[in-house]
């Protein structure tokens, strides 16, 4: 046995020891052993396992974890797994961008991957993140962003927050470029600070040679937009078009020779017009007048002969077709005509194809269509299925397609919160690490042993309900055939026996319909059925809507009371399909304006004070109603009231202080929620007159007493209390804009 073999055995022994008991190991030691395994022993796969374990088990050791990811990427490269290699580097940029050295290494490796098309060819289509957080905490605006022809720079509006964090209050909104190689941004313009009525930079487009940028900014009076052109270093900024008769103008695409810019105009009649702007003197030739919808993206063919764009198939339709318009005005055709939604067409750099998004398969995919002489040459081909909510930005010269993703990172956390004790939220832990970033809306079972939450997972990120048993960690996963409302979604509600979940969603095919529909999920069979007991209602305009649990509904029924959220101050006593009130039955209503009841004869009666109802909640047993009301937003305080649902005495549980100054908006109770045992109420308070003041969470006993402030910085709407009053679950959410590229398309290889 030679020395090398002895060393190898020692290393293996170390690795075994590490892998069996690395819970006691320092991550630095693990990293060292993995490097030894990789470099000395040459056992890449064993090293990969250790690198993976470091990343999994020691994410808080950020430097080590980031280094492990970089090492992991290199190991995958050697193993020939380019996709995993890319994923490892991307994770460095997305999760460890604060680790400068590792991030720089990852960025350099990814750049090599990008420039080396051999990888793309070997893999087929690959994707890569080029800007992990494009909004960067700034106010991002949709459809802004233009990629430079060489793919290195992304032009964008840099919203720089001003007073009070509001970019509209003396902040700036300048034209900036992000360098995808260095990860740094720089401003190209230096506009004066904004005031409420001031202006901002909006749309932008790179010239074909990458030397110039066209952009739009509002004039000082905010009366119309000006089309500017400047050099890519920010010099020679001048106005090309400023016309108060065409108040909106957006540069969309430059001709290859730089002679004209395809632009979108909008007049006072709100009609959109596609125009060509001469870069020499700003003259405008309107090519085509459309309707009141934006055509998008007005991509210009490399030979300058055709513009492609999407537009609604017909008046009043939401689905788009793809159109091709000759820049000499000689023709316009429907390039892609299909009942599905076909949108965002872009020319490939060789001018041979138009690539567009379509939901013709039922899910959104990327398609390409070969085009010759302005006409389709064949049928659209699927390039990439299930692309989700990508927003394409266009191609670089090298053929990479850049796109933007708006990502909502949502996770469920659990923590200790003793409502009977210190009432301080402990450090939280993730409820699950599976499908991280897609989980939200937790709900404890009545016995507190299980927790249900929503998760978007699987191909196409469909909606699922996951029920986790806390003792065993077991998760049961139920695919749900509908969507959550875009706003104001509720956690699933447990039935009293823990056998069902009540879910409020939006039915398939009615996504744009505000009507919410209640479903019952049987946790034994997995069946999902409409819940006939709960009424459907339109809750968008009412006070904080809530829907009754089965226990609450039973209690109300026993008490002979119906509850009705009433939108828009409108007491809609009966709807189509409602059962008429039975003799003696009362109809209670809660509207924006107050609480009251309606007799079977239809007489409407207010109960208690009238004013503005911010929020209300039924007690868990369905016998009490709590609501917060502001009687006068100038002088009166917000009050939290409670009353039996059958009517009777109204008790005031708390009253917020008056605003600091006369005329200021008073503090508001935004949400009220009962504790599971019905013994106290939680409510959160916001301070409109003091923007910098954090919202506060308070607790007050139902029987009265002094309200107690809780040391919790989670919004009450996201907080779920465990029945034991000692634990909570909540979810966090962060919106992020990411820029990605996709390359390795088959037509890139064809040399076209």
């Amino acid at each position: 046995m030679n020395v090398r073999a002895i060393v190898g055995l020692a290393g293996l022994a170390l690795l075994v020891a590490v892998s069996t008991a690395h819970g006691q190991q320092k991550p630095e030691d693990l990293l060292q052993s993995a490097r030894y395994t990789e470099e000395v022993q040459g056992d890449l796969r064993a090293a990969v396992r250790v690198y993976q374990s470091i990343v999994r088990d020691f994410p808080e050791h950020r430097s080590v974890a980031a280094t492990a990811l970089v090492r992991l990427g290199r190991a995958y490269e050697t193993l020939g797994d380019a996709e995993a290699q890319q994923a490892a580097y991307q994770r460095v940029l997305s999760d460890y961008s604060d680790q400068a050295q590792a991030a720089a290494q990852a960025r350099a490796q990814l750049a090599t991957l990008q420039s080396d098309n051999r990888v793309a060819r070997r893999l087929g289509i690959v994707t890569r993140q080029v800007w992990p957080d494009a909004a960067g905490g700034r106010a991002g605006r949709p459809d802004v962003g233009s990629i430079s022809p060489d793919g290195r720079y992304l032009a964008f509006t840099d919203w720089i927050a001003g007073f009070g964090g509001d970019p509209m209050l003396r902040g700036h909104a300048d034209l900036a470029v992000f360098d995808t190689e260095t990860g740094r941004s720089r401003l190209l313009t230096d506009r004066p600070p904004q005031t409420v009525s001031s202006t901002y930079v909006e749309s932008m487009a790179w010239s074909a040679d990458g030397e110039r940028l066209a952009y739009t900014a509002w004039n000082e009076g905010f009366e119309h937009q000006e089309l500017h052109v400047l050099r890519s270093d920010g010099s020679d900024d001048h106005i090309l078009v400023a016309n108060d008769q065409m108040p909106n103008v957006r540069p969309m695409a430059w001709s290859q020779d730089g002679d004209f810019i395809v632009s979108l105009f909008q007049g006072w009649d709100e009609i959109r017009r596609i125009g060509l702007v001469s870069t020499e003197d700003g003259r405008v030739q309107i090519l085509k007048t459309l309707g009141t919808h934006d055509p998008w993206p007005l991509s210009l063919s490399p030979d300058g002969k055709y513009v492609v764009y999407d537009y609604p198939q017909a008046d009043g339709e939401t689905e788009h077709d793809v159109f091709i318009l000759a820049t000499d005005g000689s023709s316009e055709e429907r390039l892609v005509s299909h009942s599905a939604d076909d949108e965002r067409p872009f020319w490939t750099p060789d001018g041979g194809r138009v690539v567009f998004l379509s939901d013709r398969s039922g899910r959104r995919g990327l398609y390409s269509l070969e085009v010759r002489d302005g006409r389709p040459a064949g049928d659209p081909e699927l390039v990439r299925p299930d692309v989700g909510p990508m927003v394409t930005l266009g191609f670089s010269r090298t053929g990479a397609l850049y796109y933007r993703l708006q990502v909502n990172v949502r996770d469920v956390h659990v923590a200790e919160l003793d409502l009977n004790g210190a009432a301080t939220l402990s450090e939280s832990t993730l409820l699950t690490e599976r499908f991280e970033g897609t989980n939200g809306y937790p709900s404890w079972s009545p016995d507190g042993r299980r927790i249900a939450y929503f998760s978007h997972r699987g191909q196409g990120l469909g909606l699922h309900v996951v029920v986790k048993t806390l003792d065993t960690g077991e998760e049961n996963n139920f695919a749900i055939p509908f969507a959550l409302p875009r706003q104001g979604a509720h956690s699933p509600e447990w039935s009293a026996d823990g056998r069902h979940l009540l879910i409020e969603g939006i039915g398939i095919g009615v996504v744009d319909d505000p009507r919410r529909v209640s479903y019952r999920l049987d946790l034994e069979t997995g069946e999902v059925a409409r819940e006939p007991f709960l009424r459907d209602y339109v809750g968008r305009d009412g006070p904080n809507h809530s829907f009754a649990t089965a226990a609450q509904s039973e209690a109300l029924r026993a008490a002979g009371v119906r509850m009705l959220p009433a939108p828009k101050n409108e007491i809609r006593v009966f709807r189509d399909g409602d059962e008429p009130l039975r003799p003696g039955e009362k109809l209670m209503w809660v509207s924006n304006a107050g609480v009251g009841r309606v007799s079977p004869g239809g007489d409407v009666e207010n109960i208690g004070p009238t004013g503005h109802v911010h929020t209300w909640a039924l007690s868990p047993d369905g016998t009490q109603l709590a609501w917060a009301i502001a009687q006068d937003t100038i002088l009166q305080s917000n009050r939290l009231l409670i009353m039996p649902v059958t009517g009777g005495a109204i008790r005031e549980l708390t009253r917020l202080p008056r605003p600091p100054e006369l005329g200021d908006q008073p503090p508001e109770i935004v949400t009220v929620k009962w504790t599971p045992d019905g013994k106290s109420l939680l409510y959160d308070v916001r301070w409109p007159a003091e923007p910098a003041r954090e919202p506060e969470l308070w607790q007050v006993g139902v029987e009265g007493g002094t309200p107690e402030r809780l040391d919790v910085s989670v919004e009450l709407t996201r907080l779920r209390l465990h029945p034991d009053r000692k634990r909570v679950a909540f979810w966090t959410q962060e919106a992020r804009t990411e820029i990605w590229l996709m390359e390795g398309f088959s037509w890139q290889d064809s040399g076209r």
């Binding site: 008769q245 017009r273 309107i286 007048t289």
Partner: protein, 343 residues
């Protein structure tokens, strides 16, 4: 009373020109050569792109033939009327009458609309019952209260005319026929354009092109008077159908308008929004020519139209005062521009 004839001079001039022009590629149009794709001079304010069907591309020779046919009285039953008899160039390609007048003095039910800029249109006639110009141009020939012919009879008359036979053969390489008749007339109508008005020059940046009163009128047009809700875009029409109440009299609709095409309740008494280009030259107004002046039209809209069960909710009382109405009339006058025919 005999209907007014088209001016013989116009007819003769037109025809003699076409006979000369077809072989020589229409010198009067500023020819660019036979059978060449069209290089169209577009008056300012209009789109460079105009929809032209692939099966009938614009050609100098076809347009020239179409012009001759447009002035051809032989296409009417008694050889008294041509298309140009009702769509008179001097009247903004309308006729100045309240209602159309056909052969033998027959009166039509609707006002003759201008055909300027109809190449940009999406549907034709007040009720939009026809969707292409190629179809539209044959309809007046066949209408009993207009030219009262069958297309076959019209084609037969052309075939008996050796000059037309020669022209059709030269251009289409066949005898006169329905399809080529339609193509020729439609091509000519497509070239009838108006733009480059003072308003267009104002939009293009010539701030002196409109008077102060006209600018005030433009602001009202876009704002308080709500005209822009329907009269929008390059041709000042949304190409949609609206019930303003013009057809509602004595508690009933006297013309069902778009409803006869769509069958939709909401379309009862609805008519297509007409263009406002050259509007000062195309009186009287509305589908039935019932309003003689622009002032009367403004009074009608200022009062919220004629209230009726099918009235478009866009129509409402405006509360305009005298000065505002005067400003609007002045602005509408600024929409009179250059009229071009040909390519």
């Amino acid at each position: 009373m005999r209907p007014e004839r088209a001016r013989p001079g116009v007819l003769r001039t037109g025809w003699s020109r076409i006979l000369l022009a077809v072989p020589a590629c229409a010198a009067w149009l500023g020819a660019v050569g036979c059978f060449q794709p069209v290089q169209r001079p577009v008056p300012s304010g209009l789109d460079l792109y105009m929809p032209v069907p692939a099966e009938n591309p614009l050609r100098q020779d076809v347009v020239a033939l179409g012009r001759a046919l447009f002035f051809e009285q032989a296409l009417s039953r008694d050889s008294s009327l041509a298309c140009a008899s009702c769509h008179r160039p001097s009247e903004g390609f309308s006729d100045g009458r309240r209602l159309s007048q056909g052969v033998f003095g027959r009166q039509g039910a609707r006002n003759v609309p201008t055909i300027l800029n109809r190449g940009y249109g999406r549907s034709f006639f007040w009720d939009g019952r026809i969707s292409t110009l190629e179809e539209q141009v044959l309809q007046p020939i066949m209408a009993a209260d207009e030219m009262d012919m069958s297309v076959e009879e019209a084609v037969e008359r052309l075939r008996r005319n050796p000059e037309y036979v020669a022209a059709f053969r030269r251009i289409f390489e066949r005898m006169p026929n329905e399809k080529d008749l339609a193509r020729s007339l439609a091509s000519y109508v497509r070239t009838l354009r108006t733009g480059d008005s003072r308003f267009d020059r104002f939009v293009d940046g010539d701030r002196g092109a409109l008077s102060e009163l006209e600018v005030r009128g433009q602001q009202l047009f876009q704002g308080k008077a709500r005209c822009v809700r329907c009269h929008m875009g390059a041709t000042f029409t949304d190409e949609r159908f609206h019930n303003t109440g013009v057809a509602w009299r004595e508690g009933e609709l006297h013309d069902l308008g778009r409803y006869t095409v769509s069958g939709a309740e909401a379309d009862r008494g609805a008519f297509k929004t007409p263009t406002l280009r050259q509007v000062a030259k195309t009186a009287p107004y509305m589908h039935d020519g019932s309003l003689a002046t622009l002032e009367a039209v403004l009074d009608f809209y200022d009062g919220g139209g004629n209230d009726n069960p099918y009235q478009d909710p866009l129509i409402r009382s405006l509360g305009l005062d005298e000065d505002e109405r005067a400003a609007l009339v002045a602005f509408l006058g600024s929409l009179t521009g250059v009229v071009r025919e040909g390519i």
